[in-house]
């Protein structure tokens, strides 16, 4: 397999170099289980991503994202079940709607909307979760710290 950037876990940086902090909200049924599967399969992903468990992405109040960014996160991932497969039928569709709107608001506030990422990861997609985390970490590293945006 060819090495691509998304599978490469970066080496630990020297202590004084800035490390991003990324918060990921994962739905219990699909994405959290998928992330567990990545762990069982020992697939590496970036340690700057911290997972918060919710039952469903429909629970995602947009203020959580704002609050996370305010409290020090440099990026936020929201990950749920694939459309049509939500354990609670439609929660992920509502999350999708809210994220669309939220992105526009973030832009108005001068925050790069790339700092918010919405993905669908199913319970058997450990590899996809790892790729997502790594890609996001790479993206945030290139965007720099949140403070830089404001």
């Amino acid at each position: 397999m060819v090495t691509t950037a998304e599978n490469r876990v970066p080496e630990a940086a020297p202590p004084d170099e800035w490390q991003p902090r990324i918060v990921a909200f994962l739905c219990n049924w699909c994405s959290y289980t998928g992330a567990d599967l990545a762990g069982i399969s020992r697939i590496e992903w970036d340690p700057t991503v911290h997972i918060v468990r919710v039952m469903c992405t429909g629970r995602m109040d947009p203020t959580f994202v704002a609050k996370a960014l305010e409290l020090g996160a440099d990026g936020v991932i929201i990950s749920g079940c694939h459309p049509g497969d939500c354990h609670y039928q439609e929660g992920n569709y509502k999350a999708l709607r809210r994220v669309h709107l939220l992105r526009r608001l973030l832009k108005d506030f001068g925050i790069d909307p790339q700092r918010l990422r919405l993905v669908w990861v199913s319970a058997s997609e450990g590899v996809e979760w790892a790729k997502t985390a790594n890609e996001m970490a790479r993206e945030i590293r290139s965007l720099g710290p949140m403070r830089a945006d404001a």
Binding site: V9, R21, H50, V52, G58, F64, Q89, K94, A123
Partner: protein, 1144 residues
């Protein structure tokens, strides 16, 4: 043990042996945790999940007053219940526990100690901050309905159903096909014991049939599932079987069914009748009729004649039955067999293969046969005589049909006909060479036999009026009237000179000839117009020995005349001048002497969609003619209305085309009791369309006279969906049809042209019996059942019910087992193996059917040409273990291949070759079976087959196949000649697996099969509580493993039933009514409709039994009035703050 008051948090960091400790510095994490606010104790320990570990927690709760617990360990999906249980055992509410996942989501996925430890510390911080805000929650208990739903009647579903019902509980077994038994019912012998599959399966099937609390629902599918574990509400659709439970399986119906369609049970290798039982030991043993909607021919016909039915009966040589079938819906079969424009032929599915069936010709054949063999057919007399009387004005097709239908209902019907010959347009409009008088008489006679009184010489507006009909005067006194006076007035051209002698309208001309009235056709006749009437007039004029020229103002492609008619007209010497129109009739001595014409060219399309003809300036020219027949259109006569029309209001209404204005559904005029149909309403229409209107009129009059509302009509419906034809018919996509031979359509034999012009004898001669049968055999039976009702007649217990409808049942069950099995990979995708292209390349299932004694070859191994094979090649891994198709191994094929090898050796003299990559003989007795097959002399070649190619042998006349592979054990390329190739194709999930998953809330693994909760520890559970999977729906497996899983699932189901109740986690939404503003935003968002609005209190309320805890409403509430118990805003934000707090 206080769990109120200020939080006293205990933090426990697990080493998990080296799993966590090797990467995360657990001691450091513990140290940092110790210093966090509200933390009274922090420990680290080797294995927190062990008894000793749990005791640590319990002790701290009891002795240190810990009232909040954080465990930093493996995933909560693993051990959250364990630690909740430990807390509960020590008297602490189990929901005051929070897990931080520092194993699956930390230690196992990061390799640098520093960042991993930092992250673990952050996660623990988050958990600590969160748990401080946890409140004690109480779990709900719900009852478990003891009934169970099992989806799928294969061996998995069957076994589970038997186990559950034997334990004394109810099971609903829902199976999509007409019989239970699944794929196993199709096998011949099973490995490794070579048990006959049916022998071990059928006792279970019969057992299921007899089990008192096992409710079997075959031909059924689950449409929706609502509810939660212990309390599911399931909607099941039972498709109509069309045979009731009175069926005794005598199979008399099969003998009379004229249809043969490819049999899916036998992998489409052989045909079966539409009414059938899937296989002899099918359970339920009731027969079933295969109906794929209505045939397109029946759909398209305005009177819904059963074309497919009588065509099938002709093919079977059952002409008397065909005639009866035709007469059931058609009072004018002889006429239609000659002149109908055949919408059925236009819709015929056969046109997708080659050409449509000559349905009209076949109908004519049947009726001619009846005339010869059954000269006096009797109609079914009505069941009851009704007192009401109905008058039908006009004896054309619509009037006759209306009269016929009403007479069959038992009404007294009188037809009033103006001319002295009955038949309307059929008598006065159709020339004799298309529709001879004796033919029409036969149809009229049949209608008379029903007691219909037909009066000639009675003209509406002259000898009687509409008022008379409705009055009580003797000879009248009718309760309803159907006006069917047709459209007999030819439209004039509107050019000067049109009133000269020798200019006549087409309809008038034809009427004169048909009624035998005196007339003179000249020597040079011009026909103006391009429709069927124009051509009828043209060909009639030819028979009157004239030179005939048709002048048409557009071109051939815009002419509305039928193709057949046009061809006949040309053959008979009619000349056609296109793009020509007359502008003046030239008159000499009061008689026509010619036409002044102009030439036209085609311009933009007009209202009819055809290009508008535009006059070419300066193109005037004169043509000599002595007779001009104007045949551009007809309209109904309106003169009669002036004389004695009903004086009461409301009166009849007319449109601007002089047709009667009626209600389009009921054909009712504004006058009560007076209906109208046919050409008088439609304008000039075809025979069968008018008949359809007559039928609708009869239905409307019957409703009117019975006092019913004039709605809900079932006769003369337009086709349900235009083009419901080829694409919708499943059989037409089978390989059988794609390789079908192209056969020409039967050509109607005709009289020679020279002969034709001598008289008015029929031009078409009709098919011979041989021609008719051959043509009828081309029918594809695209709708399967043709509704001939032969089975209905032949069934002794009268069990056939073609009016049966689908039924939707709602079931209440506590748990659901999904055992929907597998489908076979489509081997034609691997084109290099030649499946679907070469004869004698078969799939495993096809081979099973061949080996099975009830299959297409009665258990013999035979090639397509009927001979036994000299050599057979069995190919492993077709579509499995292949990145291009399915990556997984299908597990059963190696053993099935060995079984095939054994059976071929047993039943034939053939050499057997097996082409494998690995030999997977992993089960009990499997390796021994492999040894046995090796001893029998099958040649094993280790090499995946690269391609199968056809060969012709040394002298070019011995067609067989060559299998090419590398024999990897000797490292050489080999080409093995064989007669037959058996492909062991992959097992795949069913094509609609995604839809099934959605209905039951199942996840799927990457290979598409349903996802189990844990691959090792929970192979039959799913992430949806109360829903289980078993058998091949979870992944490919053989029968022993399938039965084991089925019994495992049954055990799980019985566990919950015996407990009788289930605990529902208290993760739920609660509305704070004080804050709720009544905006109702939340109501529509809930997918479970768990929130309702109390309009008195003007607040929203959550039904805690229905709420599943997704939190959508919590996030949506603008007033933050809804709390998500266990996942409150405050808790989540605290967790965020804890994670993101600055390090160090």
């Amino acid at each position: 043990m206080a769990d109120n008051g200020s939080p006293r948090i205990g933090v426990y960091v697990c080493h998990c042996g080296f799993n966590i400790a090797a990467t995360v510095d657990v001691a450091a994490v513990r140290e940092v945790a110790e210093g966090r606010p509200d933390v009274v104790v922090a420990r680290d320990y080797q294995f927190m999940c062990s008894n000793a570990g749990q005791d640590l927690i319990k002790q701290d709760i009891e002795e240190l007053g810990v009232n909040r617990v954080v465990v930093a360990a493996c995933s909560p999906l693993m051990h959250e219940p364990t630690f909740r249980g430990a807390a509960e055992a020590a008297g602490l509410n189990p929901y005051l526990v929070q897990i931080a996942n520092i194993r699956e989501q930390c230690a196992w996925v990061h390799h640098d100690r520093g960042p991993a430890t930092t992250k673990a510390t952050a996660l623990v911080n988050g958990a600590v901050a969160r748990v401080a805000l946890h409140e004690p929650l109480k779990a709900m208990r719900a009852n478990v309905t003891p009934a169970t739903l099992v989806v799928g009647g294969g061996i998995a579903g069957l076994q589970a159903a038997l186990d559950i019902t034997t334990a004394g509980n109810e099971v609903y077994l829902v199976e999509r096909r007409s019989t239970i038994g699944g794929k196993m019912a199709r096998f011949d012998k099973t490995f490794p014991t070579l048990d006959c599959a049916a022998c071990i399966l059928t006792p279970k099937m019969v057992g299921a049939d007899r089990q008192p609390n096992l409710h079997m629902m075959t031909l059924s599918e689950v449409e929706s599932v609502e509810g939660f574990v212990g309390n599911f509400e399931v909607k099941v659709r039972q498709h109509a079987r069309y045979v009731t439970a009175d069926c005794t399986s005598c199979s008399d119906c099969v003998a009379v069914c004229p249809v043969s369609v490819p049999d899916p049970f036998n992998e489409l290798l052989v045909g079966r009748t539409a009414i059938h039982k899937a296989f002899p030991q099918a359970i339920p043993s009731t027969y079933v009729i295969d109906r794929q909607g209505r045939s397109p021919c029946m759909e398209a016909c305005p009177i819904h004649q059963n074309a497919a039915g009588y065509v099938s009966l002709v093919a079977a040589g059952r002409y008397a039955e065909a005639a009866k079938l035709i007469r059931r819906r058609n009072p004018l079969p002889f006429i239609c067999g000659r002149v109908c424009y055949a919408a059925c032929e236009e819709a015929c599915s056969r046109s997708k293969v080659d050409e449509p069936i000559a349905i009209r010709g076949l109908k004519r054949f049947v009726m001619d046969w009846e005339r010869e063999h059954e000269p006096d057919p009797q109609p079914d007399l009505p069941a009851q005589r009704r007192p009401e009387k109905v008058a039908v004005i006009g004896s054309g097709p619509s009037g006759l049909t209306c009269a016929f239908d009403l007479a069959q209902e038992g009404y007294g019907v009188t037809i009033f006909e103006k001319h002295d010959k009955l038949g309307g347009m059929l008598a006065v409009g159709l020339p004799g060479y298309r529709c001879p008088r004796p033919i029409l008489e036969r149809d009229l006679d049949y209608i008379r036999k029903l007691g219909v009184d037909m009066k000639t010489g009675q003209e509406l507006g002259k000898t009687f009026s509409l008022d008379d009909l409705l009055s009580d005067a003797p000879g009248f006194g009718f309760d309803a009237v159907f006006l069917a006076i047709g459209a007999h007035r030819g439209l004039p051209l509107g050019i000067p000179g049109e009133d000269a002698e020798g200019v006549v309208s087409g309809v008038d001309y034809l009427r004169t000839i048909n009624l035998g009235l005196p007339q003179t056709t000249g020597k040079r006749v011009a026909i103006v117009g391009g429709g069927n009437t124009a051509l009828d007039a043209a060909r009639t004029a030819r028979r009157e020995h004239a030179e005939v020229t048709v002048l048409y103002r557009r071109t051939r492609s815009e002419m509305p005349a039928e193709e057949d008619e046009f061809a006949d007209a040309v053959a008979e010497g009619v000349r056609f001048d296109y793009l020509t129109a007359p502008i003046e009739v030239l008159v000499r001595d009061g008689r026509v002497s010619g036409l002044r014409c102009v030439r036209m060219e085609l311009g933009e399309p007009d209202a009819s969609g055809r290009p508008r003809p535009v006059v070419l300036p300066g193109s005037e020219h004169d043509r000599p003619f002595d007779t001009v027949i104007v045949s551009i259109s007809q309209s109904p006569d309106r003169d009669w209305y002036g004389n004695g029309s009903p004086s009461a209001k409301p009166a009849l209404a007319f449109t601007k085309w002089n047709t009667l204005d009626v209600d389009p559904q009921s054909l009712a005029t504004p006058v009560a009791g007076v209906f109208a149909g046919g050409d008088v309403v439609l304008g000039p229409a075809t025979v069968v369309e008018s008949m359809g209107q007559g039928r609708r009129g009869a239905e409307a009059i019957h409703k009117f006279l019975s006092g019913m509302a004039l709605e809900g009509f079932t006769s003369h419906m337009p086709p349900a969906q235009p083009g419901l034809g080829f694409e919708e018919r499943p059989y037409l996509h089978s390989p059988t049809y794609s390789k079908m031979e192209r056969l020409p359509r039967a050509e109607m034999p005709k009289r020679s042209v020279a002969e034709r012009l001598t008289d008015y004898g029929e031009v078409d001669l009709g098919f011979t019996e041989e021609e008719a049968k051959r043509e009828a055999l081309r029918c594809l039976h695209c709708g399967a059942c043709v509704e001939c009702r032969s089975c209905e007649a032949a069934c002794p217990p009268k069990a056939v019910d073609l009016e049966m409808q689908d039924e939707i049942t709602t079931l209440e069950v506590g748990q659901i087992l999904v055992a929907t099995g597998y489908e076979l990979f489509d081997s034609s995708q691997i084109t290099q193996y030649g499946y679907g292209r070469y004869d004698n390349v078969v799939t495993g299932l096809e081979f099973e059917r061949m080996l099975n004694s009830t299959g297409p070859t009665a258990g013999q191994v035979l090639l397509k040409n009927g001979k036994p094979p000299r050599a057979v090649g069995i190919v492993h891994c077709v579509g499995s273990r292949d990145e291009k198709y399915n990556v997984y191994c299908s597990r059963t094929c190696c053993m099935a291949a060995l079984k095939f090898a054994h059976l071929v050796k047993e039943r034939t003299e053939a050499d057997v070759y097996e082409f494998y990559i690995d030999m997977r003989a992993f089960g009990k007795g499997y390796e021994e079976f492999y040894q046995r097959v090796l001893r029998e002399g099958t040649t094993m070649i280790r090499g995946k087959v690269a391609e199968v190619v056809p060969a012709l042998g040394q002298n070019g006349s011995d067609p067989h196949l060559l299998i090419r592979c590398e024999d990897t054990l000797i490292g050489k390329f080999r080409e093995i000649p064989v007669d037959m190739v058996v492909l062991c194709s992959a097992l795949e999930p069913p094509k609609d697996a995604a839809d099934i998953a959605r209905v039951f809330s199942l996840s799927r693994s990457p290979d598409g099969f349903f996802l189990e909760r844990h691959p090792k520890l929970d192979p039959v559970g799913t992430t949806t509580d109360g829903v289980y999977v078993a058998g091949c729906s979870q992944g490919p497996k053989d029968i022993p493993d399938t039965v084991a899983q089925a019994q495992a699932a049954a055990a799980r189901i019985l566990t919950l039933i015996s407990r009788g109740e289930v605990t529902i986690p208290p993760i739920r939404a609660v509305v704070n009514e004080a804050l709720c503003g009544g905006c109702k935003t939340c109501i529509g968002l809930c997918p479970y409709r768990a929130i309702h609005f109390d309009s008195e209190a003007e607040v929203a309320r959550v039904n805690e039994a229905l709420c599943q805890g997704c939190g959508t409403c919590v996030a949506a509430c603008p007033a933050s009035a809804i709390t998500g118990a266990g996942f409150t805003d405050a808790q989540i934000l605290a967790e965020l703050a804890g994670i993101l707090a600055p390090v160090g």
